[in-house]
Symmetry: C2
Subunit: 162 residues, 2 copies
DNA sequence: AAAATAATGTTATATTATAACATAACAAAC
DNA sequence: GTTTGTTATGTTATAATATAACATTATTTT
């Protein structure tokens, strides 16, 4: 991700080039090391597949790719790896279309907003501190403690609007 | 829904009493009439079931209830009715847990935010013009035209926090 | 090395949703 | 009021997404 990503007030994150995939893997390795967790071959492989995809991918698509790579794999194989990556904040799950995508900023935990194009599927991770903070304040007015915010905006991306 | 609902700047909507269910059905009848759509027995029955539930319900739960009521029903029966009700803005779908709940304000189309308790499942529809407007503005900065906003906040409700 | 823990393999199955085609109900036109 | 077209529903099958449960392997700790 993080092509032109400024991580200032508002940041948008486009898709990863191959060197950036390597960097994300490096970051994940470091991060797991720091947390004393095992970044196994399977977990690395699944993260690579998610990173390399140019769009959010479904679990069974990842399963196919694992199998094509010669590995013996069944649904739990991929779901367990995804669960691990989700817990560590290395990937996000989009509830509106049951897909997974690599997190652009695994270092600092953050709540993100996703712009999902309903036509081409292109998905952008956007960071706008303001919105999430406002949501948190609103929730607090109802004495509600947010554990996870799922904010997914479906619509037409700039390319598909033309 | 709409127990203590002010529909002012911020409005919260609690669960419906039985008279309120009747009112929602009346509103739906009117609305479909106005739009020249058929509010059939099946559609009415499904909306009633969704309204009466004290929490968002799954499609297969509705299916069971339809069958218990004596009606012959299969998955498409309930999904088709739900699709109709969704299109008309009479129910909402929660993507994070694949459930459906009655819309508190079918009259005026609106984007809502949902507070979903991860412990008891209680779900609150909250209307805060501000947040949705802000989301729309943010999206516009990326030349993105929102068609649908799914904003689902998972966490602990006030009762479960204690 | 043995024991304990964590990860993966494997089989089966649960849960959610849709495709495809047949029939029935309804509305419009004649 | 019957024919015709359209919309809704019935019905069967199956797709797509996800998890349970238990066996095996790998890794870490003792």
């Amino acid at each position: 991700m993080t092509e032109q990503c400024s991580h200032s007030n508002i940041a948008s994150c486009t898709l990863p080039s191959s060197e950036q995939v390597a960097r994300l893997i490096d970051q994940a390795t470091e991060l797991c090391d720091k947390r004393n967790l095992r970044f196994t071959r399977l977990r690395r492989q699944v993260l690579e597949l998610v990173c390399k995809a140019d769009q959010p991918v479904g679990a069974y698509h990842l399963l196919d790719e694992l199998r094509e790579s010669g590995r013996s794999a069944a649904p739990p194989t991929v779901y367990r790896a995804l669960d691990f990556l989700l817990e560590q904040g290395l990937v996000h799950r989009l509830a509106t279309n049951n897909t997974y995508l690599a997190c652009a900023h695994p270092q600092q935990p953050h709540a993100a907003i996703f712009l999902v194009c309903s036509q081409c599927g292109h998905t952008q991770e956007v960071h706008t501190g303001g919105v999430i903070d406002q949501l948190r304040r609103q929730a607090e007015q109802f004495d509600f403690a947010i554990e996870h915010a799922s904010v997914e905006l479906t619509g037409l991306c700039s390319r598909c609007r033309q």
